[in-house]
């Protein structure tokens, strides 16, 4: 019998939500990886050969527009996984996926995960429930990007990232934040100073620290609360 699963895999909440014996069985196919910021995971149109479960880092899914601009459509951290749906049948990635914050990841070959999905209803249920969550998030963010202003979206995004990585210290440059939100870096610089003056954040080069979550939540659009309920609702069996 496979003994208890490696606790590091359970740092990912999706893997932790699997029945214990299921995770123990899967552990022989799971690998640990440390990836630094900016590591390419998938390019649009390339096969999803591996599935990634962040333990501590964060992956952004981006849609490439105007041939070069990558606008973020989802941030995935320890609550989720990237490429999960490919276990239901060979898939090409629609988005570009990149590690935005380096950290530890559990990975598994898509073929191995597909075999588990074929064998176990609990794995299929996990994939379907999580894919529903991602779809709901994409719908909410499409609405958010159309109607909410840059200050509100910035606050919402900072809160999300903090939740994803489980830390209020966000190793992010203003350049990167601007790219993710689809605004100019100058705009982020001015907004970061305004938020710092409000006492919501502190920023230094390459790092933003959330010092008052409540203040940040006051500035964030309602999408933060909506998505938090959606995304962090536990997947249970």
């Amino acid at each position: 019998m496979v003994t208890t699963s490696n606790p590091n895999h359970e740092d990912n909440r999706l893997l932790a939500a699997l029945p214990r014996e299921m995770l123990a069985l899967m552990a022989r196919d799971l690998r640990h990886l440390s990836l630094s910021q900016g590591h390419p995971i998938y390019e649009p149109g390339t096969p999803i050969d591996d599935i990634y479960f962040p333990q501590s880092g964060m992956i952004s899914l981006m849609v490439v527009v105007d041939d070069w601009r990558g606008i973020e459509i989802s941030t995935i951290g320890r609550e989720g996984a990237v490429g999960l749906h490919a276990a239901l049948g060979k898939r090409l990635s629609f988005t570009r996926a990149v590690t935005q914050i380096g950290g530890r990841f559990s990975t598994i070959r898509t073929s191995a995960f597909a075999q588990h999905a074929q064998d176990f209803a609990s794995v299929r249920e996990l994939i379907i429930r999580y894919t529903e969550n991602l779809w709901a998030e994409a719908q909410q963010l499409a609405a958010c990007n159309a109607v909410h202003d840059a200050p509100a979206r910035l606050c919402r995004w900072l809160l999300h990232v903090a939740d994803r990585i489980g830390s209020d210290q966000l190793p992010l440059t203003q350049e990167l934040i601007a790219q993710m939100l689809g605004v100019r870096r100058t705009t982020v610089t001015i907004l970061a100073q305004a938020l710092q003056q409000r006492g919501a954040i502190k920023y230094a080069r390459g790092r933003i620290t959330i010092v008052d979550r409540d203040k940040l939540m006051t500035c964030a659009c309602e999408c933060y609360t909506v998505l938090t309920k959606q995304k962090l609702s536990p997947v249970t069996f």
Partner: protein
């Protein structure tokens, strides 16, 4: 390419220490307008003060002010 710096001011000053490289002053004017629209979007105020009290100031690499405009002159923008 020359550097341009974009500051938002009333009695508070939100300064842009890093600047942006742009081809010429016309490009700086266009950049200032985009940033102003991104900041304003559909809001009436910034830091609880009416936009009419805020000004965008643009400087070159030597710190010389090139132009400024009141934020209330900028039409409310859209995202991106």
């Amino acid at each position: 390419m020359p550097m341009y710096y974009f500051h938002l001011r009333n009695q508070d000053k939100f300064t842009d220490p890093d600047g942006t490289e742009l081809v010429d002053v016309e490009a700086a004017r266009a950049h200032a307008l985009v940033v102003a629209r991104e900041l304003k979007f559909k809001s009436d105020t910034f830091m609880d003060e009416a936009w009419s009290r805020w000004f965008m100031h643009v400087q070159d690499g030597d710190g010389t002010e090139l132009f400024s405009f009141p934020m209330s002159d900028v039409e409310n923008g859209s995202n991106n």
